[in-house]
Every structure is written in C-alpha cells, then in structure tokens.
C-alpha cells in the first residue's frame, strides 16, 4: 500500500509541474480515493458535535441524497421547498416528503431488503448510523438497536430508515 501510494504521489508531482491549480485539486481527490478506498467516513466522533439545525433546503436535499444515492434535481428541490412552506407543522410535512421518497421504487432499489437486515442486524445498524448520522454507534446504541430489531419480527428496513430520518439528530449537523 505504501509503495503504491509513493508511486502515485511521484507521478502526480510530475504531472503537476505542467498542469493548472484546478487540475491539481482534481488529482488529489483521485489520489485519496485510490489509496484509502473511501466510501463512507464517520465525520463525527459523537452526536454532541451536532449543534446546528439543518435548513429546509439542507434537510430535503440530504434526505434525497441519503435515499436515492444521488444529488437532488434542482426542480425537485425547488418544488419540495415550496411545498414545505405551505404547511405549518414542519414535522408533519417532513414526514410526508420522507414517506413519498420511501415509496419510490428508485429508493426501494437502493436499500437492503428485510432478509439482508435480519442476516446481520449489527452490520445493518452500523450502516444506518454511518449513512444517516455520519458517525458510528456507541456500544450501547449498537446493542440496544440490535435488540429492538431482533425483538420485533415485523420491524422492516423502511421502519428503521423512517425513524432515523425523522429523528432529532438527523435534523442537526
């Protein structure tokens, strides 16, 4: 790993001698991905670091990218932000928007099915915390959440996702 890192670094340095600043930034991003194979990185050590409330725009675009695994089209974002204005209870309208997304076949294609969740509940819980909270669960959270899912045969992936995406912590960053 170290050897390949060094090789790429040297190659990059050579390239940078004849490229622009913009090019330099792009190459560094590629370099990081190759070396560390980053997919999802916990950016919070604990939820206490989250003290800023997401704006409606951040909340809706975050929901979309978390569920569709792609950026939200600007017209969809505009429409949903306007729609959100038309209802006074923001928890209610957040629920409706989330439920509509969770009903989408495109979203259902991106989430694990219930049997996958049951195969390895701990891994599923860890994945949920990383995907939605950008942190790892504490030992207690991992244990308790796993128990809750294991203890309820009717609990579905959608139930768990819905709870995460409507939770207070998801509203903050």
């Amino acid at each position: 790993m170290q050897a390949s890192k060094h090789l790429i670094w040297v190659t990059l340095c050579g390239l940078l001698l004849s490229t622009s600043c913009k090019k330099e930034i792009e190459q560094e991003v590629i370099y990081d991905n190759i070396i560390y194979e980053i997919d999802t990185v916990p950016v919070y050590q604990s939820n206490a670091e989250k003290d800023r409330l997401k704006t409606p725009l951040q909340y809706i675009s975050g929901l979309y990218s978390n569920l569709y695994l792609s950026g939200i089209p600007s017209n969809v974002l505009d429409n949903l932000v306007i729609y959100r204005l038309s209802i006074g209870d923001k928890t209610l309208v957040n629920e409706m928007i989330l439920n509509a997304m969770l009903d989408s076949p495109d979203v259902l294609a991106t989430i694990p099915d219930d049997s996958e969740m049951r195969d390895d509940v701990e891994a599923f819980v860890e994945e949920c915390y990383l995907r939605f909270y950008l942190r790892k669960p504490s030992a207690y959270e991992l244990y308790a959440m796993t128990e809750m899912i294991d203890g309820d045969a009717d609990m579905t992936v959608v139930d768990v996702y819905r709870a995460f995406l409507l939770s207070n912590e998801y509203m903050f960053y």
């Binding site: 939820n47 206490a48 989250k50 003290d51 409330l53 429409n79 949903l80 306007i82 729609y83 204005l85 038309s86 209802i87 006074g88 209870d89 923001k90 928890t91 209610l92 629920e95 409706m96 928007i97 439920n99 509509a100 009903d103 504490s138 959270e141 308790a144 959440m145 809750m148 309820d152 009717d154 609990m155 579905t156 139930d159 768990v160 819905r162 709870a163 995460f164 409507l166 939770s167 207070n168 912590e169 509203m171 903050f172």
Partner: protein
C-alpha cells in the same frame, strides 16, 4: 339594549368568578377559563384591499360615472343588485337572506395605523396591533397572533388542531400562524395551510399515490425514533414551526392524503349550473377551509382571500372577484349552519385588511374603468366589518358606524375573538390596544 348589556355584563362578571364549566346559550359546555359567547370563530380577512364604495357603499359604477349603483355582494349585504351595465354574471345567492340580517355590520371602521400594505393589514387584524414601515416580511410578527392567545389561555391549553390559519398565498403569510414573542411563540401557534399549494399540482404530483401509514407502522417507527431521540440532547422544540401531537399530526396527514387522493370529496363554492372554470383561488381556499372545519371542527379558523388585489390594474376583474368572494362567504356560512357541531355555535367575522384609495390611478381596463391602489389615503383606511352569529349572542340586522363617525378599528378583531372565546381577561396588560366590538353582541 343598554339594559340587556348591563344584564349580560353582570352575568359575565358572575360567571368569571366561577371555575366550573357551564352551559352556553347554544347548549354546549365551555372548556375555556372564562365565559364564552360561542365555541367556534371563523374570521375571514379580505386581502387585497376592498374599497367601501364598492362594498357597503354599493356604488358599483357610480363612482366612475360609468353606470348604475347597486349591491354586488348580495350574500353578505342587503340592497338591490345593479340591473344593467353588468361587469359580472350575477350568481344566485348561497344564503336565503343576506348575512347582514344575521349579524351586525360595522359600516365604517378604521384601519387607523401603519402602512396600508397587505402584510401590514393582515398582521394588524391577526395580532391586534398595527405595524410600522419596518415590518419584516421574512419573519414572524413581533406581537402574538390570535392563535397564540387562544391556545395559551385555554385550560387545558388548546391543541393546534383547534386553531387554523388558511392562507391562499405563501410569501409572508406563512409567518402569521405564530409570533416571535417569548411568552407565546410557536409553542402556541396555529396550524397553517395554503390550500392552493398544499392541495394544488405539487400536492397531487408528489402525494397522490402515497398510502396512509398503518398504526402498526407508526408504532414501530415511534419505538425506534424514541430511542434515537433519547440519545440526542437537542429536542424537537428546537425546530422552528408549530407542533401537533403525534396523534393529531397523523390525523392531519391522513386528512390531507384523503383530500389529495379524492377520498374526501371537495365541495366547490359555486352556484348550480356554474362550471369549475369559474373557480378562483379565493373560492378554492374557502372550499378547503370548509373541509378542515367539517373534519376537525376547530374553535378558531382564519381564512383569507387575495384575488381582489387585481384592483391595481383591472377594476372590472376586481368587481367580479368581489362578487365571487361574497358568494364564497355566504356558501361557507350556509355550510357551517349545516354542520351539527358548528351550527348555532359559530360566530363569523368578515373584514378587509384595509381599503383602497379614493382616487383612481391612471390604468384603464378593457372597459375603460380605472384601477385603484392603496397608498395610505384616508379612503384606504376606511373598511367595514360584519359580525354574524346566533341571534341569542349577536345582534341581528344592526348597522353601526358612519362615514362621519366610524366605529371600531381593525385591531379590535383580536380582543373581540378573545371575548367570544372567553379568554380576553387572561391576556396580560399591554398586549392588546384594541377594544371589544361590543355593539355586535346581545
């Protein structure tokens, strides 16, 4: 009249000392801390500005020397309609007799302070306080709204399901369901909807196939959400906006989906034989407001209309919209009287946010009629107010106030609603400069 008022006031003073619930004239038991005249109030705010000349003045085209006078609001006002030079197709009335015969008409009332702007006018009616040039259009009002007074000063605190602000437009109006006041605020705010958006094309596009959640799904979601929330030290109350209880939130969501998906049929405020192409935004707002009234029987609802603002550029269309809005109000009152919970236990107050200028601008419409703005002249501060209710509570067929001696101000609406719903005396001093519209009540 004076003797009756004395007896009533004496009774109110006695009732104020009582702590137990008591029977209302309409036969229902009050839940509030004080004496109630009725258990439901519907406030209709005519946004856009209506000149008294075309409403209670019944001048129709006289003012422009272009035709006859006449009453173009036959559902609300008594008086003969114009018979020629009609700019509109007359609709048959929704009520057997005009609402003015079922209540008290303040023929000339003052919008006495602050700019004659739409948001200023709305804010004055809904908060009971005039505003200034510095009113922030992107923030909740500084002074509490009627929704907050109502919810906070009921024992137990009234749920948000009982207080609704139904606005045709978004813009600054989305901020009028609660204030920035630290004693009141979002915690006591009313539910807000803008039906033309909530149930318009966006609502249909995104939610027409969405299923309501099963109770078991909700329970499972709540179980996990409770756990997650218990492990995060910021509460949902940090999130701006009003809150319903989990149960009420679900009721509202189910109602919305049923309405969007057609399971609750919409009734259109149109006379027989008039097509849907004649619907206006104002009438759509009234139609959905009626569904909310019918579904939840809220104790307080505020509805607005704004189509009348077309008067800046098109006087003929303004007349048409006024005629239609009048029908919508009559239709709504008729519907209210058909509901077993609301009938004979509802007081409706209708008031324009402000008037419009005495002198037209220079913009003629297709009929050569000139338009009117609202730039703060005395005429734009002259409005009417109609208070309609059961004869045991509201004086019937009474007209008060004249051009020379106007009676009441638009900021009197909030204390009047507080009086009707029995919590006026619980509002701390200094909040409401207005007075109760006493003359309206028996």
């Amino acid at each position: 009249m004076k003797r009756r008022k004395f007896i009533r006031n004496t009774f109110m003073a006695t009732a104020g000392m009582m702590t137990a619930p008591y029977i209302l004239p309409a036969g229902t038991i009050s839940r509030s801390s004080g004496f109630r005249l009725a258990n439901h109030v519907v406030l209709v705010v005519f946004g856009g500005g209506i000149r008294n000349q075309e409403s209670v003045g019944q001048q129709y085209l006289l003012n422009q020397a272009a035709g006859p006078g006449g009453n173009i609001m036959p559902n609300m006002l008594t008086g003969a309609q114009p018979t020629y030079n009609l700019l509109y197709t007359p609709w048959e009335t929704a009520v057997a007799s005009p609402l003015a015969t079922k209540g008290t008409l303040y023929k000339h009332m003052r919008y006495a302070g602050g700019p004659t702007g739409h948001f200023n006018g709305h804010t004055a009616v809904i908060t009971g306080n005039y505003t200034s040039d510095s009113l922030n259009l992107s923030a909740n009002p500084v002074m509490p709204t009627i929704f907050e007074y109502y919810r906070k000063h009921n024992d137990p605190v009234a749920s948000a399901l009982n207080a609704w602000w139904m606005s045709i437009d978004l813009g600054p109006y989305v901020y009028l369901n609660y204030s920035q006041d630290p004693v009141y605020g979002a915690k006591y705010g009313g539910n807000y909807m803008s039906p033309t958006t909530t149930f318009g094309s966006l609502g249909v596009d995104y939610f027409s196939t969405l299923n309501t959640m099963h109770p078991e799904e909700i329970t499972r979601m709540q179980t996990i959400k409770s756990f997650l929330d218990a492990n995060f030290d910021r509460s949902v109350t940090d999130i701006p906006g009003i809150l319903n209880s989990d149960e009420n939130r679900q009721l509202i969501q189910d109602f919305m989906l049923q309405l969007i998906q057609g399971d609750i049929p919409v009734e259109y405020p149109l006379p027989p034989g008039i097509g849907l192409d004649q619907m206006t935004g104002d009438l759509s707002n009234i139609a959905v407001s009626w569904k909310v009234l019918q579904q939840f029987h809220p104790e307080l609802m505020v509805i607005n209309t704004t189509n009348l603002d077309i008067c800046h550029t098109n006087f003929s269309e303004y007349v048409k919209y006024l005629h239609k809005a009048d029908f919508g109000v009559g239709w709504l009152w008729d519907k209210i009287q058909s509901d077993p919970v609301l009938a004979n236990d509802t007081i409706m107050i209708c008031i324009p946010e402000h008037g419009r200028n005495a002198v037209p601008n220079t913009i003629p419409d297709a009929n050569g009629l000139f338009a009117y703005d609202h730039t703060g002249d005395e005429n734009s501060r002259d409005v009417f107010c109609l208070v309609v209710g059961p004869p045991s509570v509201v004086n019937q067929g009474l007209v008060v106030g004249s051009e020379d001696a106007p009676e009441g101000e638009t900021i009197d609406v909030v204390p009047t609603i507080a009086h009707i719903l029995g919590f006026k005396d619980l509002i701390p001093p200094g909040y409401l400069p207005g007075s109760i519209l006493e003359a309206a009540f028996v």
